[in-house]
Symmetry: C2
Subunit: 268 residues, 2 copies
């Protein structure tokens, strides 16, 4: 029997009845004292995945209602809203201490199938220095303890050494699981939300940026190896930030897109 | 008593019990025989709006499950998932003939309030010819009857006369309600999904592009007048299209962003 990966072990679910599962949230994916939002959605996707034949979550929207409680058990609820040939839609949520932590709306499909004419339009990967010429991300970049770095390795563009005085609110880098588990369509939503906020590039550590809503579109099955990420802050209004991002696999193929609303809050 | 606008009249809801409303779907917002997806979400937002104090839907995700039935009654269900000071999260759905037509996850906030430090990052409006130098959109552009044009006036960039042979999968234009009702944060989600598919710019009328999932972020309250729209097809995989868009008001201020997954289907 091979040893389980961090991803498998820390997102394991147990059925507790029709449409109900339990999971044990690990503290190893924390940013400060809270589990990373991308991690929280993984066991919910596992539960949903057990309800449909299609293997790939193609659109994953999550509303973060309250921080998850690290190291504690969580209840997952999931429901197939509509099964379909081209896509199946599901609804899910996570609860702890009787309170909903997140609410999610997801569609699964099979990325190996085609719905109609294929068209050659995509977003090419930007040219950035390779991982070993990038900066190893550490907790001190963000002023909080990043247990998360025990689970995901991150290399940031060398320019990020000057975060706070860069021209564009953009962050480029490379990410992978630290135990070298290869990325999959089920794990990509995590990588869409694991980098420091791109607004730090221009404005430095202006505040804490919890995610209110995150939508990840999975586009293709990733090849093994590092994932390349580019996130950009597009708009900020009254502290409400829109951040958009792309993930490419090690062959430079677009595998995911994300857009989220974050709240820029003063440091506590 | 002033006459009701199309928007008010065609999105009117009547409470039928706790968390339940009925609405009469108008056929005047049809594309071919189906109601436009952006229109369908409007009465659901009205129902949600009645459950919260915050006036502005700031993130609106909708999964389209089945076409709506034009000219028929629909049941709306909505539920406050979590009330909050900075944002309140709601879930909603629309049903006809006992079948769910759409499922939605929305957060409302007050765009007049601020959560933290404001930061000057936004997306400027592209420079395009004014509405009276643009092409009036007609049904023949798309090969289907567009009852929708009785409700929304659209002017497309003059370049769109060469749709099918343009270099970029981009559509620029201007939109407004045809009865001149001014846009509001409640009506913006409609304008995010009322233009022809931007893939037509490069590839012509390659197929029918129903929306699977649409997320609209409302950024600011729009000034009166025309809305400027730019939509771009960013990626296509197996007929699954990602289209991203922005809406600016008549002062050039970004008021909404959208991203959707559409399915490129062969013409029937």
């Amino acid at each position: 029997m091979t040893e389980q990966s961090h991803f498998e072990r820390d997102t394991r679910i147990t059925s507790t009845g029709a449409g109900r599962w339990s999971t044990q949230l690990s503290a190893a994916w924390n940013i400060g004292t809270n589990p990373n939002g991308g991690y929280l959605i993984l066991p919910v996707l596992r539960a949903m995945s057990s309800l449909v034949d299609q293997p790939d979550p193609i659109t994953v929207t999550t509303h973060y209602l309250r921080p998850g409680l690290a190291g504690a058990e969580a209840e997952i609820r999931a429901e197939l809203v509509k099964p379909g040939r081209l896509a199946s839609n599901l609804r899910g949520s996570m609860h702890q201490d009787g309170k909903p932590r997140l609410e999610s709306l997801v569609a699964f499909a099979d990325l190996d199938t085609s719905t109609g004419p294929d068209v050659d339009i995509t977003i090419p990967a930007p040219d950035i220095p390779p991982p070993d010429e990038c900066i190893v991300r550490s907790g001190s970049d963000q002023g909080v303890e990043l247990a998360l770095l025990s689970r995901a390795e991150m290399r940031l563009h060398p320019d990020f050494a000057n975060a706070g005085s860069l021209d564009e609110p953009v962050i480029d880098g490379w990410v992978r699981f630290s135990d070298r588990t290869e990325p999959s369509t089920l794990s990509l939503p995590f990588f869409a939300d694991c980098c420091p906020p791109s607004i730090f590039a221009t404005h430095g550590r202006v505040g804490w940026v919890p995610t209110l809503e995150l939508t990840v579109h999975i586009r293709r099955r990733p090849a093994p190896g590092w994932l390349q990420v580019r996130n950009r802050t597009e708009d900020c209004q009254g502290g409400r930030i829109i951040e958009t991002g792309c993930i490419w696999d090690s062959t430079g193929t677009l595998v995911a897109q994300m857009r989220q609303v974050g709240l820029l809050l003063d440091h506590e």
